[in-house]
Subunit: 343 residues, 2 copies
């Protein structure tokens, strides 16, 4: 039996739509926090298959999503390349930024698969243990977003260091993006070989670029990754999530060859249906703060999202990850609303 | 100044739309027939740069199309690979079909660029001699269509030999398509390096395949070619023309990453606008027999096409090549109608 989530990614319209939530495995769940306490630190959590498997399955067990996403982090790639990296409680990731040719030369792509072996082991166990109707999603950060962390030392902010660096030394910038694209291809390809049925590329820092930068840093590496994955694994869908791409979403969908695009909360569903819907399946885009609010507001907004995307293949999701302060019972309410939806 | 044809391929809507016609350089023009008589045979015509350049420019000089397409043939690739090939007057191309491993082993991809050097010379001269506002289109046959000619020995027909062969010996089929995809990448890449500003892939025999065959024989090789060309030549648009793809056109547009799709005469414009228009620019699709008919019928149908595609980026063209019996004055009338069109 085809899984509903995969069917939609391949272009079928289903009502109600399949659903999952970004960061569905996370701190809003008490059983996650309990699990988290068993790991020394966040990277240890990611690299212990028994913990990663359990974290991936917790939300599916509670709420019955149509897909489980591997519990991992986009920064396992810089970590596996040898960059020093720490997750500080309440602060997010902090990396020793790449600043010189020497830092650059120290990156070791050849260690990737060895360091990431526990991730593939988690995927293998998940593929064996997941309910039959639930799909398994693998993922990675897109090269640009990972490069931002590697050069800035952290996410967010104005990204002035990396944009300066790419302007002053464009060849080095391209080399870094190409190295990351190749590492991402290998990482996702290994996840697929281990049992992932679809993969998502998170490009969290795709906003705030100019046209030319968006093409070179976001579209070009994504296109390369999609093309290589499709050669190696025909039929395995790829979801692109260029967060805050705004008016550039249609170009992203047209030019990269992704099967689906993740839409952030700023995107109006009817516009996406018209401008992207023929090009790719649409995933999104309930405001994550509405899920914190709950009640009538959640019910109304969730129906607006369901209604807005009904004309095209749609995977219900948030526009951004589940916030830690989200009451789990609001997710249960959302599950009810989605399941009760009729076209 | 950006050329109108290229602007539309990059996603801009223009009224009136830019236009050119498939086989605009051809037997319907007396000056073409005169030129043709100066060549020993059709391949000699293709391989003599001064003749190919003149044939490419003739229609543009007469009718002022927005693009000139290189005068050449999709079968220069099998010819350059060493397959015996003859163009018989009134009969079309006849090839010594590939039937055995020995035939297969005799194909010599390493000779490609040497044999095709006159084609690139023609592109170089055209790029230098074309009017400033006219774009230059390079082209090649898509791997599946070229494979049909190579295995069947001719075009058209039920393609039973090749489908049997691909079913009995799938690995050989894939190898042939991969060899042709690589040759096509090299051939188009060299045309672009020589001055072609956009390229079109003709997949004339894309019809009549089942879903799985369409994906493996049409979509997969096209995706590979598009991805490689876009890596080597960012910003150079690729047009795909999977003739008779019917209901599979949207999947083709979504999955291959082409910038524009050529639509055959069977496609209803409003459907294409809705199902493909957000994904790729649309090119087509006036019935070539209407161009033979001329008069009110031509005027009415041409306006129906202009009107039908107005909502999306559109390049006016036929749904199939200009027929030899087309009166040149009908093409002049069409030019007038297109130029007078207001949105």
């Amino acid at each position: 039996m085809a899984k509903r989530f995969i069917e939609v990614l391949k272009g079928k319209r289903l009502a109600p739509p399949p659903w999952w939530l970004m960061r569905q495995a996370g701190r809003y769940l008490p059983e996650y926090r309990e699990l988290r306490n068993r790991a020394k630190n966040f990277l240890d959590f990611c690299y212990r298959p028994e913990l990663a498997v359990e974290a991936s399955l917790q939300p599916v067990r509670r709420f019955g999503m149509d897909a489980a996403i591997l519990f991992s982090d986009i920064l396992v790639i810089p970590d596996a390349l040898g960059q020093r990296l720490e997750f500080r409680e309440g602060e997010g990731p902090v990396l020793e930024p790449i600043a010189s040719d020497r830092d650059f030369a120290r990156l070791k792509p050849e260690n990737l698969h060895r360091r990431l072996a526990p991730v593939y082991e988690a995927v293998r166990r998940l593929a064996g243990g997941i309910p039959a109707e639930v799909a398994l999603i693998g993922f990675a950060g897109a090269p640009w977003t990972v490069a931002v962390y590697m050069v800035e030392g952290q996410g967010g902010g104005a990204r002035t260091k990396i944009r300066d660096w790419f302007r002053r030394r464009p060849a080095d910038g391209e080399t870094l993006l190409a190295l990351l694209a190749d590492a991402t291809i290998e990482h996702l390809s290994r996840q697929i070989a281990s049992g992932a049925e679809a993969v998502q590329l998170f490009d969290s820092w795709a906003g705030g670029l100019d046209d030319d930068e968006f093409r070179r840093f976001v579209i070009a590496p994504t296109r390369r990754i999609v093309a290589r994955l499709k050669e190696r694994h025909p039929g395995v869908p790829v979801i692109g999530f260029p967060r805050e791409a705004g008016a550039r979403y249609p170009e992203f969908a047209r030019e990269t060859g992704v099967d689906a695009v993740g839409l952030d909360g700023a995107i109006v569903p009817s516009w996406a249906v018209r401008e992207i819907g023929a090009c790719a399946a649409l995933q999104g885009n309930l405001d994550n703060r509405v899920l914190v609010a709950g009640g009538e507001r959640l019910a109304g907004e969730a129906r607006r999202v369901l209604e807005g995307f009904r004309a095209r293949p749609h995977v219900f999701n948030l526009g951004h990850g589940v916030l830690p302060e989200t009451p789990p019972e609001h997710v249960a309410l959302l599950a009810q609303i989605i399941r009760a939806w009729k076209d």
